[in-house]
């Protein structure tokens, strides 16, 4: 305890005014500002957001960053490996290499050259095992594709089987995938939220019937519905989107329903009712906004499903019409050459993973930001 003697003249009463008493010492922040501040302090979420913004920008502008169109074919430059000046150490040096083995060193050499059509001047070979120890001889051939094809310009992500520039296609695909993810999620949010909200809010018989309807909807396989959609609307983004919207919202409806069942007897809802608020107002102004956090999280779960669903449709040949590409179709197309031209798969796969991770981290951040428990 401090022991100094306080001076006498400090012991005079002071007037404390009412307004001062009621002053809130915290700065005034709106709910959203408040949430945003918390979000901003969440490093992961901000990184996620940044990644998404960058990907979005790349999707918007990436295809125009070089001179190749996404549909521009040239079979003479098919399956070119990626080459970026200065990134050779990352393996993006525009060469292909392969190890060939045979009983004799010459055999292996021949095979190694044959592997790349005997274009000897562009092939460097390296003996890994000369076969003298009784094992098979092994030779690695490295083929400078760009030199062989006399290509001056570089394909940053390489080219695909039709000689289309993977860079352009990847970003165009990102565009489509982002679009599919966002639009499908949006529709599913709208329908799911409305459905779940109404079902829970009116409860009783309405709820019972609406839930049975969901059961029926769940019971009919997606695929049957989607094929019908595709036949009615022709395959394409529209039918995929609608197909997604037909059943993609079910889990959202379930979750919103659960939440609203809890919320609808909260006192602030009752208060609104005693003021004579109509159902629509209560749903819109009170119930739905308070389900927001959950809605966001669940949307983040439906985004990967949407993207993969599109990829699955492509896998069974019901996806986007040729020659459009989404990340899903690109990955699917690259899958077959996984072992020999991994670059065709690699870049779309990295980007799809980035999108998912970014969305997930951001969603986690958003959930935390909206969680009242995170408030001090």
């Amino acid at each position: 305890m401090d022991n100094h003697k306080p001076s006498k003249d400090l012991f005079v009463p002071v007037e404390t005014t009412e307004t001062e008493n009621e002053k809130i010492s915290r700065p005034s922040l709106s709910f959203w500002q408040d949430s945003f501040i918390r979000l901003r302090k969440n490093v992961g979420a901000m990184i996620g957001l940044a990644v998404l913004i960058v990907l979005g920008l790349m999707a918007a502008f990436g295809p125009y960053m070089n001179d190749y169109g996404q549909y521009e074919q040239d079979l003479s430059r098919a399956k070119m490996p990626p080459k970026i000046e200065g990134l050779a150490w990352l393996g993006m040096d525009g060469t292909l290499s392969d190890v060939q083995s045979a009983d004799t060193l010459e055999g292996a050499q021949t095979k190694a050259l044959m592997r790349f059509n005997n274009q000897e001047e562009f092939i460097t070979t390296e003996v890994l095992n000369d076969g003298s120890n009784g094992e098979q001889a092994e030779v690695r051939a490295t083929y400078d594709v760009y030199a062989a094809k006399d290509m001056d310009e570089n394909f940053w992500f390489g080219t695909d089987g039709l000689g289309r520039d993977q860079w352009s296609r990847t970003w165009m695909g990102t565009r489509v995938s982002l679009y599919i993810a966002l639009l499908a999620a949006a529709i599913d949010m709208v329908i799911g939220v409305a459905y779940g909200g109404i079902s829970a809010y009116y409860g009783g018989r309405v709820d019972n019937y609406m839930q049975r309807f969901i059961e029926i909807l769940v019971g009919i396989p997606n695929l049957v519905l989607i094929i019908l959609m595709i036949l009615i609307l022709e395959p394409g983004i529209m039918s995929i989107t609608i197909a997604l919207a037909i059943s993609g919202w079910i889990s959202m409806a379930r979750i919103v329903r659960g939440q609203i069942l809890k919320l609808k007897n909260q006192e602030f809802v009752l208060a609104s009712r005693t003021l004579g608020a109509k159902d629509g107002r209560i749903l819109q102004r009170h119930l739905i906004p308070n389900t927001l956090g959950l809605i966001i999280i669940n949307t983040m779960f439906s985004i990967p499903s949407a993207i993969f669903f599109e990829a699955f449709l492509s896998f069974i040949g019901l996806g986007l019409p040729t020659p459009m590409a989404s990340l899903g179709t690109l990955i699917d197309a690259g899958f077959d050459s996984l072992q020999i031209y991994p670059h065709i798969l690699l870049f779309p796969a990295i980007i799809i993973s980035l999108i998912m991770i970014a969305f997930n981290v951001l969603a986690d951040g958003l959930r935390d930001a909206f969680d009242p428990k995170m408030r001090e």
């Binding site: 019972n208 049975r212 049957v224 519905l225 094929i227 889990s251 896998f315 069974i316 991770i357």
Partner: protein
Amino acid sequence: MTRYIIQRLIYMVITMFLIATLTFFLMKFLPGTPLSAADKLSDEQQAVVLEKYGLNDPVPVQYFNYMVNLAQGDLGISFQFDNREVTTIIMERIGPSVQLGFQAMIIGTIIGMLLGLVSAIYHNGIMDYTSTFLAVLGQSIPSFVFAGLLQFYIGVKFGWLPVALWEGWEYTILPTISLAIFPIAIAARFMRTEMLEVMGSDYIVTARAKGVNKVGVVFKHGLRNALIPLITVLGPLAVGLMTGTLVIENIFAVPGIGEQFVKAINMNDFPIIMGTTLLIAFLFIFIILVIDLLYGVIDPRIRLAEGE
């Protein structure tokens, strides 16, 4: 309880009936006939063949016949596999799918839950970030890419496990792992969220105040309470996995129902589409019922009779 189950079973029958009806009529919109050589046959010849399957009757009559047969447990015969009973075909194919789905669910749930638990226990620690990252990764890599890599490296390169085919237990390992990735990711993420929520509740503090150690708190007190939302999402997912996943079945050459179903749709094999649809729908509704019953087991507060 029994009463409740009976009530639910009645609902189930009604729902199944509606699903059967809806699917039946939807199928009538599917283009084309089930004939495999439609382009080779004259219209008269086609009519003759269609007659055999009763496809020349008016749709309501077909519907009536189908329903009558269905009530007797007869799903009809397949179009693409001449004369083979749909029931037999589904029975043959469902086995591997269910086995894989089941194994994947078990592994997925256990590993996923452990990852989620680790995350929750070491909240915001390096373990948390690692396991969350793994979970998100599992969610973002398409399963077929993963399956392809597994097959190539584990099967071909290292030769540790069979590459594909369906000839014994060891053949199920790779497809099971590939299938399990997604449930692992989902389970881990849900577990983490729920566990964090639960760990903040009063009874956990009570338990800690008793001197129970962290592991005891998590397993004895936290787990069961965090389980409800988990089974809510995992239930339908389990049905999805057990009723076959075309992609994994194709890659590992598993004679499962997923591949069969897609082919049936492509081939307009109505009886198989119908049969499989009904089976999947049944499993879904059944799993929902099981989940509802499980709720009661896990959480004694939930009394079923008050469900409606």
